[in-house]
């Protein structure tokens, strides 16, 4: 007789073996960090590791639509984010992954790809369909190839001209909405029915100060000598809640996401929630329910306390929340080692300048790469580049400049700077406003034009305010006690907006007629002078109106 219990067990073991054999690993994590005084950072990370040999024919937990795109266009590494709002580095510290406002896409193509530009265009148009974003507006005129600022994070074979396989574009005007979140959620194995992704309720998350959704794929080593690589797909959501919007500093899942957590995703190897309780010392709060464990992480001289919750698939509806015990005075955040600001100079619509301010608060110098990416309609003049007002500064260790061309290529400037300790560095560059053709202006032309943010890449000497994962790691737990000599980070400054001079959009016919009239004013007399000769003609007596009318009739009769 067959025992039904045994049978079920057998099935479970069978399923387990299938999954282990194919080896797709899915992990979901949520990281919550209060940003005193009034903000709360929540960061979701869904990591799928595809251990199988890559084929787009069949996938297990990885989304087939995405894997197909990656294999089809031979993409080694891809980073795509859609962001609304501005991350304030000087108030909030650093996010796990920074993103530029609007849409940002960059990818490294495999070294076999020869015509990177066509592949890039195809990739961006395909992703536009996949995520319902306007990525199809990525053209040559807004694509650059960063030389120093971006480095692949995954395992890519050593290649001296790896940058030639890289393309970067940002669309700062892009607006992020529910229509982008829904296809993004479809890529998850549990979609939004179970697991942490069930918390991503578009009604609530678009009601935040800052929200960013992203897809990051890369190759990671699956053997110790890195002869075998596997694909890692990481889907992220970063949200910053404002206590003014949720009307209280106390928070809970119900308040933040509109519902509790209905248990982990059954397909996930682990579902974990980390709450950063370091600020508990200064602004005490009580977590409910009690965390399973409190982890102490010593990283680069700064100490972080993390409360850990493990969510099981069979868990009942849970809600994690925090209640502040006492409202203390304002707490000053420790300034991060490096923060920045960007703004536009000048008045009128003829000439202007962009200033990027970098502040190093650390006691030793920091090397940073600053990438300025100006669209073709904002021609910057390299000769006007000033660093702290000086034309040639010793702080510049290397420079790359690729001049733009109207309607074809953006202006692209990269500087490798050594920021002196405890200093603010001001990078100024002048630009001229361009007069566009009337059809090139977007609707509501006087709203202004968005200029993409600058990228700042730094190797930070300290982990103060640093939350990112170590380069090779996939999961959050590997950032605990992960002390390194330096901490690589890629930041985006805030974007800026300029208002270009506009023509009168209602005038095309009038202008064409008037300008042609003036040309005709020259053509007519010149034609007369060249083809006719002067003769004397008797001046007749003036004809009365009556006579004229009679003449008119006479002619008709004839």
């Amino acid at each position: 007789m067959f025992n039904s219990k045994n049978f079920l067990f057998f099935i479970a073991v069978f399923i387990e073996t299938i999954f282990n054999a194919n080896g797709d690993l899915f992990n979901e994590e949520l990281f919550i960090k209060p940003l005193p005084p009034a903000h709360l950072y929540t960061y979701f990370q869904f990591t799928t590791l595809v251990n199988d040999n890559l084929s787009s024919e069949h996938t297990y937990l990885a989304p087939r639509s995405l894997v197909e795109v990656l294999t089809r266009f031979q993409v080694d590494e891809l980073h795509f984010t859609l962001t609304e709002g501005q991350w304030r580095h000087n108030h909030w510290g650093y996010p796990v992954l920074d993103a530029a406002p609007g849409a940002e896409l960059y990818a490294w193509f495999s070294s076999d790809v020869e015509n990177v530009d066509t592949q890039w265009k195809k990739l961006s148009s395909t992703l536009a369909g996949l995520f319902c974003a306007s990525l199809n507006f990525i053209e040559d005129f807004n694509t650059i190839t960063p030389q120093m600022a971006l480095q692949p994070t995954g395992a890519i074979p050593q290649n001296p001209n790896i940058t030639s396989q890289l393309r970067y574009a940002s669309l700062p005007r892009e607006i992020v909405c529910t229509e982008n979140l829904t296809p993004w959620k479809k890529l998850l194995p549990c979609e939004s029915s179970r697991g942490l992704s069930a918390l991503l309720n578009s009604r609530m998350i678009h009601n935040t100060n800052y929200h960013s959704i992203g897809v990051h794929t890369r190759k990671v080593c699956s053997s110790s000598d890195c002869s075998v690589v596997s694909l890692e797909i990481k889907q992220t959501v970063a949200l910053v809640y404002d206590s003014k919007i949720i009307r209280t500093t106390d928070w809970s899942f119900t308040k933040l996401f509109g519902q509790g957590l209905p248990g982990g995703c059954p397909l996930a190897s682990s579902s974990k929630v980390y709450v950063d309780i370091t600020t508990n010392d200064t602004q005490p709060f009580l977590l409910s329910p009690e965390p399973e464990k409190v982890l102490l992480s010593q990283r680069g001289g700064s100490e972080t306390k993390l409360a850990l919750y493990t969510i099981k698939p069979e868990n009942k509806m849970t809600t994690i929340g925090a209640k502040y015990i006492s409202k203390k005075d304002l707490v000053l955040m420790k300034l991060p080692p490096l923060y920045f600001n960007r703004y536009v100079l000048g008045y009128g619509k003829e000439f202007g300048g962009i200033v990027t301010e970098l502040t190093n608060t650390f006691w030793s110098s920091i090397d940073v790469v600053v990438l300025q990416n100006a669209p073709w309609w904002l021609p910057i003049q390299l000769s006007s580049l000033r660093i702290n007002g000086e034309a040639s500064s010793e702080m510049v260790l290397a420079r790359h400049y690729s001049p733009g061309r109207s309607r074809q290529k953006p202006y692209h400037l990269e500087l490798l700077l050594r920021l002196p300790p405890k200093s603010t560095t001001k990078i100024t560059i002048d630009f001229e406003f361009v007069f566009l053709k009337w059809q090139e202006y977007p609707p509501d032309a006087n709203h202004g034009f968005y200029v993409g943010s600058a990228i700042i890449t730094a190797n930070l000497p300290t982990a103060r305010n640093y939350t990112s994962l170590p380069g090779t790691a996939s999961l959050f737990e590997s950032s605990i006690n992960a002390s390194k000599p330096w901490y690589p980070a890629v930041f985006r400054t805030n974007g800026v907006m300029v208002s270009l001079p506009t023509p009168d959009f209602s005038m095309p016919y009038n202008v064409i007629c008037l300008a042609c009239t003036v040309v005709a004013l020259a053509f007519g007399p010149l034609h007369n002078i060249c083809t006719k000769e002067l003769v004397l003609k008797v001046v007749g007596s003036s004809v009365t109106l009556k006579q004229k009318i009679i003449n008119l009739f006479k002619k008709k009769k004839e």
């Binding site: 733009g404 059809q439 064409i512 040309v519 006719k532 002067l534 008797v538």
Partner: protein, 429 residues
């Protein structure tokens, strides 16, 4: 003595204005500096070249590579004497124009003598004497030295200063019969701004006139010299750019296709801002043909006896209709107007044209400020002003030509305007 005082005063005014605080504003004015000739772009181009970045890769620089290396050298070695160099170039232009007009007067007198038999008895006193014509050269000099347009052009340190000097040198060479010098300078000017290519026709005619002999041989010789020297400068430029001819897209290509729609005093900018995209190519071709080819043949046939008038009219027409005109070009052709002092009595619209020049010159900067800085006007205001400025110039040109044919008629037929005792008027038929 008087001439020296003029030069000194004009030179000092230019030198002083470059050193005032207004210099920055002046050198960035849209009326003075276009994307083609502005000092700012020259600096950027030279800077990029100095940093080993090809200035023609981007959109910043549209001057010829020869100008690039000249200014690279000057900015590297004598950056402080550049105001002096620009003033000196402009004074040299004035001197060359003076010399040119002296030559032109001689040619003019020869022509007059040749056709003296055609002059009717009644109009004999209209024939110009040598002393009358001598003083026109003085006027040419004064007009170039003290014309606000040419002063502003020089103060703005635009490359049009160099362009004007090359043109003046080419015309001076032609007036004195030096084929090679004239053609070489004209080729360089053409290399720099393309539109001076028009002047090869009157230049060939003047050279044939001055160097008596076989006319056709002279034309062929001139044309050959011009084509050879033009190819030579094009080749030299490519040699400077390491054998690449890509600079052509940024110089001639930029002039011909008009990609930069920054306002200037010409007709192109707003027209092509408001142009429907699918008609753009058609109208670019139409406007460039209008500026480059259309008028040259009919005017040459009509005024083959008067190559000097042809020079004046072609210079003026190409200034009105070129894609990136600036006040420096206007100032240059205006210097030739006093040569036609004897036509002034036949001109009908002198007052209107003069008023239009004064009013538009004052109104242009005003409405520009209102549009760009105050935000209280829009593009149409500035467009209206540039349109009337162009109209004024066109009236000046056509009026000059009408005055010329009227004088021609009067010389031939006397000044009476009656047929069989009845009053009559001159009409074109």
């Amino acid at each position: 003595m008087g001439a020296v005082v003029k030069y000194v005063i004009a030179g000092l005014v230019r030198y002083w204005l470059i050193h005032t605080d207004f210099w920055h504003t002046l050198s960035n004015r849209v009326e003075i500096a276009t994307p083609l000739n502005s000092w700012k772009r020259l600096i950027e181009g030279v800077y990029l070249y100095d940093q080993n970045i090809n200035p023609y890769e981007g959109d910043a620089f549209h001057e010829s590579p020869i100008v690039l290396v000249i200014f690279h050298y000057l900015l590297k070695h004598v950056p402080y004497s550049l105001p002096f160099i620009f003033s000196a170039m402009d004074l040299l232009t004035a001197y060359l124009l003076y010399k040119t007009s002296r030559g032109f007067v001689r040619i003019f007198l020869n022509c007059q003598e040749k056709y003296l038999s055609d002059v009717s008895q009644e109009s004999k006193d209209m024939v110009m004497t040598e002393s009358q014509l001598k003083e026109t050269s003085e006027y040419v000099l004064s007009v170039y030295l003290f014309n606000p347009y040419s002063i502003l052009n020089c103060v703005g340190m635009t490359t049009t200063v160099l362009q004007n000097m090359l043109l003046a040198a080419a015309l001076c060479g032609a007036a004195h019969g030096y084929v090679i010098i004239s053609c070489a300078f004209l080729a360089f000017a053409t290399h720099q701004a393309l539109y001076p290519v028009l002047l090869i026709v009157p230049t060939a005619m003047i050279l044939a006139e001055v160097n008596k002999g076989c006319n056709k041989c002279s034309y062929i010789k001139t044309l050959l010299a011009f084509v050879l020297s033009w190819s030579f400068v094009v080749y030299i430029s490519a040699f400077i750019m390491d054998g690449s001819y890509n600079y052509v897209y940024n110089t001639y290509g930029f002039i011909l296709t008009v990609p930069d729609l920054k306002p200037n005093i010409g007709l192109f900018w707003y027209f092509f801002t408001e142009m429907f995209e699918h008609f753009r190519l058609l109208f670019v071709c139409a406007f460039q043909i209008n500026a480059l080819i259309l008028y040259i043949v009919p005017l040459t046939l009509r005024f083959k006896k008067e190559p000097i008038l042809l020079v004046t009219v072609l210079l003026a027409l190409s200034t009105v209709f070129r894609s990136y005109p600036c006040v420096g070009d206007v100032g240059f052709y205006m210097a030739f107007i006093p040569m036609w002092k004897h036509l002034f009595t036949f001109m009908q619209q002198k007052f209107i044209v003069a008023c239009a020049f004064i009013i538009t010159s004052a109104l242009g900067p005003t409405v520009w400020h209102l549009w760009i800085y105050s935000g209280s006007a829009n593009a149409n205001f500035f467009f209206g002003v540039t349109l009337s400025f162009a109209t004024a110039q066109i009236f000046l040109i056509t009026d000059l030509l009408f005055a010329y044919i009227k004088r021609e008629y009067t010389l031939k037929n006397g000044s009476s305007r009656t047929i069989d005792g009845k009053p009559a008027k001159l009409v074109l038929r």
